[in-house]
Amino acid sequence: MPIKIENLFYTYLRKTPNSSEALKGVSLEIPNNSFAAFIGRTGSGKSTLIQTLNALLLPTSGEVHVDDFVVTSNKRKNKNIKGLRKHLSIVFQFPEYQLFEETVEKDVAFGLKNFGYKEQDALKEAHKALESVGLGPKFYQKSPFELSGGEKRRVAIAGILALSPDILVLDEPTAGLDVKGTEDIMSLVKKMHDDGKTIIVVTHDMELVMEYCNLVFLLKDGKLVYQGTPDLLFDQINESSAIEIPPLYKLAKLLKDRGANIDIQSIKCVDDLVNQITRKGNKDE
């Protein structure tokens, strides 16, 4: 079990009149090489939860285990936080706001240097990471502030990828991107997953959940209300809940209800559905 959360509580602005309880006793486990999603309304505690994963927030009570690392409310017990942050890295929402260096390659290398890489090694790793997000050598010497929004985001993500964390957490990686940008980022994340990394995303995009994730956690008012596979989730929830069932799932479900012989569980994207229908058609002939 790489990630195990036990009875996690978190309260913002503790002991003040403005205090608010963001997490109220969450327990969950995320197995190795999962592609997990945290979903829920704004303010349901998703972002708070992922920030406790690498000790950016210390829980009010409860424990977070990430492989050999432990995060508790007691500061002294949390050893080697820097090691944990290299092992589990978070890409924040709108990561383009964290860029600050003069050139793209320097910005990507910045994190590596913080973790003790030598200048040359850091640049080499940075180039590799930039390559993997699809930014070639002509970007290396550019200022990050002259790039477009999507390019900035890719630079910021490269800054995290360069650290080659074993667990990658992304907070709404596709917010504010167009269809093409979303596809680019997600296929990049998919590649990381195929390379054996554990991926955790926070998202509102249910189509994305359906297409990529194999594990979903639904949070509501700081409590975990569902964990399991996406298709079971879409099956359980009703129309009135905050989650928008993806049209593809609705269509597949309607087809199945009307007697089509398809396996909803294995449908991830439009192509899957088309394949299943046409294969069935071919067999009948």
Binding site: N18, R85, V91, F92, Y97, Q98, F100, N114, F115, F145
Partner: protein, 293 residues
């Protein structure tokens, strides 16, 4: 960043919270002037300052301000305290009389200098905590309304009162937003291995740069977006406008004003008496002790 609670508005519903902000500003100014009055005898000055301190503590209890926040902010002042002490103790002054330690015929350390430094520090603490009572009991928006009201007469000489008030209220409005932003960027950089609390001076400097630059970029972006949004809605600084929240005086304000005015008036009277009639020795007056200076 959420631990910066010192002086932040706290939504209680106390007597002080309900006062008119204009009234609160006026009383604050009066009390500050009273704090700055200095009497001939140091014993009298200290006694009156102690009286102000007690008044202030009562006020803080009434406003439900935690003393912890005050102590925390004092903690960061230690450098200034040492600096002030060093300057007063080691710089000679002819008017000092009470010798504490004599090095040689020309140079000595005087008790007076400790009193001077202590008095300055006490005054600072009084002023900071007084201002804290105001800011933690008044919504920033109400404060700017009050400032605008006080500056209103300046309109006669074409002083841009409304523009300045608007600038002020936007600046105040964005303090929490920028604090949140700072928090966010700090976390993002911490994920990239930046340690804001440890490391040598150079490393810390690098860490702060990685925070400041993105903060400036986003602040400038935000301000551009805001000005566009305001223009798009037809904002005209010279236009006549109405106000959602009207400030009004109530019986509470009269009570507060009478108390604040009485404290100020009393101290001012003592000051003028001390200056023009005869030296005021409160210690002798109250405790019948002649300190003999």
């Amino acid at each position: 960043m959420n631990n910066v609670t010192f002086g932040r508005y706290t939504p209680y519903n106390t007597f002080v919270h309900k006062l008119d902000p204009r009234n609160k500003i006026l009383i604050l100014i009066l009390l500050m002037v009273a704090i700055f009055l200095k009497f001939t005898l140091w014993s009298t000055t200290l006694l009156l300052s102690a009286g102000m301190l007690i008044l202030l503590i009562l006020l803080m209890i009434l406003t439900r301000i935690s003393f912890l926040g005050l102590f925390k902010s004092m903690k960061s002042m230690w450098f200034m305290v040492i600096f002030i002490l060093a300057i007063y103790v080691f710089i000679p002054n002819n008017s000092y009389t009470m010798v504490c330690y004599r090095f040689n015929d020309h140079y000595a350390i005087y008790w007076d200098s400790f009193y001077q430094a202590g008095y300055i520090i006490l005054r600072l603490i009084l002023m900071i905590s007084l201002t804290m009572v105001l800011t933690s009991s008044t919504k920033p928006m109400d404060l700017t309304y009050a400032f605008e009201w006080y500056m209103y007469p300046l309109k006669v000489i074409r002083f841009p009162v409304h523009e300045i008030a608007m600038t002020l209220s936007i600046a105040l409005r964005f303090i929490p937003t920028l604090l949140d932003e700072t928090d966010r960027i700090m976390k993002a950089q911490a994920s990239r291995g930046v340690d804001f609390n440890r490391g040598n001076l150079f490393k810390r400097f690098r860490a702060v740069i990685s925070l400041i630059i993105p903060l400036f970029v986003s602040a400038i972006q935000r301000s551009e977006e805001l000005s566009d949004a305001m223009e798009a809605r037809g904002y005209d600084p010279k236009g006549k406008r109405t106000r959602y929240r009207k400030l009004s005086f109530t019986y509470r304000d009269i009570i507060a004003f009478v108390i604040g005015g009485a404290v100020f008036g009393g101290i001012l009277y003592l000051f003028i008496y001390d200056l023009n009639v005869e030296t005021l020795d409160l210690f002798e007056l109250f405790f019948h002790i002649n300190l003999g200076f």
